[in-house]
Symmetry: C2
Subunit: 471 residues, 2 copies
């Protein structure tokens, strides 16, 4: 343990909770308890079999921006650090919290404030689920483009905190490209509006882009103005099966060399197809050893399909347009078909590389498998060079399913270094959180880290927000 | 005896130039002189009839990133502030410089380092002209999307410094959306790489977006990795003429309500058409009183045209598809047809508003005309709510053409306030520079300005870079 600090955390937290009850009685707060351990973890850090016996953090449930301001001011007064939390679906530990911290959850900041088709914007509170916004927009013929795999259960606020990507972002951009303006509570409790409801605007430094992806270390988003778009006039699912993983990875380049820009390009390698078939009897491997699962959208869908087909067939693919039912099944298999964790330990990754290097990353899997005695496979958001590798090892009879062996993490770290070696990045879309801080230090030069910390300190000099994350 | 200041500027500059010659003799530097006044202004601040008798700033012509580092370190040593400069086409005074400053021009940092169709990126030095990059890319079937009106004469580095917009950005985004990575020289002379060659990446704070649009106050970009795209399979120019300015402004909403997203939507009001016709005998007013000049691109160009035509005809437009020669002429008239400045004083503006409010801004022109006795017209990048108003007043016989009366500026300021009143911004794409600092203060809350200055100070504590600009 480190030396005692100037602030005695538990005393501070208890005094903070007393002050909240006295000065802001309208805000529900829960003290640290076994019950609040649900707020101690995100999807990356949650123990697989619970965390009995430990206390979670204190948790506050503000229902307005003003209540967030009150909480931040009181937390600052007592030197209690604050962990902003959306739905806790993050995959890098960004929302993890200790028993001496105050979690501010956005779950009651969940109003869709406004939808303006004429301005092509929606104004939402951060706790709105990504899916809830899209359910609201669909009858209006509109959609919000960023679609992280967690879209059904993750919040817009969490998506903003992590600059969430997803499947469609090669065509429509990541979350940053869809956020026009934010209301943010800063470390001194002030509420500021940054950005513009207009599509364009260049007044001063781009604070909105700085906050997007900042993993809660700069402030708490309490309202967001996001860009919405008309639903495309048509969508079509196309499959391209190849005779090997290598051939399929090379096929990605054939799409890039064409003039077609699909809305989604998912690449599934041979072990991934095997795993999906094993869990679903889906028969994909009978059609090929790797798969590019593609969604086209927009005008000229037949022209797009024709040009895409020519490009992929020239690369050795068997190309088919899928009917609606088959398409729906294929996307479901892509999302949930692998059934990770049944009988195997696994570690999942999130790297991104320049598009031309995707094939090299896949080609390097056998070497890592041999080095660590594990199995490595991946799916890739191939349109933007983002890969989600999965490292697995069968759990021997009698072994503890929660005791993931070190070799899996070592293999995952090697994959990250392989991405860095070809000009890639340690996190494509999940963020740094607590899980990837050491790896981030391998990517970023010391001078860049110093610059990032200087900006953090400029906006949050006391280190109130989400200490130990992201930077 | 007056109080001595810490730094005697002219002494500091002269000592700096001595040190450059002694320690970095490979860098060409020019001391302040009448000849360097060409480097004292940008397109917004240049006197219309020269600035005889005044000395310009010192100017350095580095040809490598290392030379930029040397210059920044020496400038810091002597307390001489640095003004980064691209082509000087800016419209907000961002590159203006005094005789006690060192201008670092990027004109010899003009190499296209790499084009990678497979990664969809180009790597360029900042002094590369926007047009030069596109000339280089076109034979490869590729293009760089941001297209400020100055694209033939402005640099990629200048475009990055101002987060330049242009005509196509409603569909393809502004400069920020096309910049993936930067090499930047910071205020301590260190050279850092920020961002990713991969399309995605979320490692730490998004410093790239922070630098884009920062108008040279945070550092000097010495290399940029930008996103490039395949040229669209088709482009088509469509005109929609309306019976009044108001009808045309309302027609913008008809496009928004459709599912077509043109690559360019330019709106020209009645006085603009009159001015173009007067200068070019172009006969546009015979076709209508306002014009939506539209470019469609991509697949399904006939489908797009059909849906767009239905939407615009329902809004009262006369819609025509233009042949290649007519289309080229129309775009040329849009760009240069108004012949501003011939016989009239003028002040040009740059505001942006939520798309649904564009019509209100045009509807407010007569009131401003009446208040100030001037003429007001505008063209608008209607796809993203950006307007470029022009306020004019005939120059009476014998009056000084360079003595623009105050009423024109007052009217321009009123237009900015009208934009703010409907949720818009003081600068859509030209930036703040020196010209709009006071107006920016009307848009941004004091707490936001404090936050912006804190970030500036965190990265440039001595205020070396471009003092007095943007913030």
């Amino acid at each position: 343990m480190s030396a005692p600090t100037a602030i005695a955390p538990s005393t501070g937290l208890s005094a903070l909770l007393d002050d909240v009850r006295a000065e802001a009685p309208g805000i529900e707060v829960r003290p640290p308890s076994a019950e609040t351990t649900a707020f101690a973890y995100d999807a990356a850090t949650a123990p697989r079999h619970g965390a009995a016996g430990l206390d979670g953090p204190a948790v506050a449930f503000p229902a307005s921006a003003e209540q967030v301001q009150q909480l931040v001011r009181l937390a600052a007064r007592h030197g209690v650090s604050v962990v902003p939390r959306g739905a806790g679906t993050g995959l890098s530990g960004g929302a993890s919290a200790h028993a001496d911290q105050l979690v501010i959850t956005t779950e009651r900041l969940n109003r869709i404030v406004e939808v303006s088709p004429a301005d092509e914007v929606a104004v939402v509170e951060p706790g709105v689920l990504n899916a809830a916004l899209n359910d609201h927009l669909a009858p209006l013929g509109l959609f919000y483009a960023p679609d992280p795999a967690s879209w059904r259960i993750s919040t817009i606020g969490g998506n903003i905190a992590t600059n969430a990507g997803g499947l469609r972002c090669a065509k429509y951009g990541v979350t940053r490209e869809s956020v026009l303006a934010l209301d943010v509570v800063l470390a001194d409790g002030s509420l500021v509006s940054i950005g513009h409801r207009s599509i364009k605007g260049v007044t001063g430094l781009d604070l909105v882009s700085l906050f997007v992806g900042s993993e809660g270390v700069l402030g708490i988003v309490v309202r967001a103005t996001v860009r919405i778009r008309p639903l495309p006039v048509a969508r079509r699912t196309v499959t391209a099966f190849f005779d090997s993983t290598a051939a399929g990875a090379a096929g990605i380049g054939a799409i890039t060399a064409s003039r077609v820009r699909p809305s989604v390009i998912e690449f599934l390698d041979e072990p991934t197809l095997d795993a999906i078939d094993a869990a679903n009897a889906s028969g994909l491997r009978a059609r090929g050893a790797s798969l590019l699962l593609i969604e086209l959208d927009g005008f000229g869908i037949d022209e797009q399909t024709a040009e895409l087909t020519i490009a992929l067939e020239a690369a050795g693919a068997r190309v088919e347009t899928e009917g609606d039912a088959d398409a729906q099944l294929l996307w479901e298999l892509r999302r949930a078909g692998r059934r990770l964790g049944e009988g195997s330990w696994f570690v999942a990754g999130d790297i991104a590389v320049p598009k031309s290097r995707i094939a090299e990353v896949f080609a390097g899997f056998p070497e890592i498998e041999a080095r660590y005695g594990v199995a490595v496979s991946a799916v890739s958001h191939a349109g933007d060079g983002n890969l989600h590798p999965v490292i697995t090892l069968p759990i021997p009879a009698g072994a503890d399913p929660s005791a993931v062996p070190r070799v899996l993490h070592d293999a995952a770290d090697d994959l990250v270094r392989a991405a860095l070696a070809v000009g890639g990045t340690v996190s494509g879309e999940h963020g740094i959180g607590t899980v990837k801080r050491e790896l981030a230090a391998e990517e970023l030069a010391e001078r860049v880290r110093v610059a990032q910390l200087a900006i953090k300190n400029a906006l949050d000099p006391a280190g109130l927000f989400n200490p130990g994350k992201a930077l």
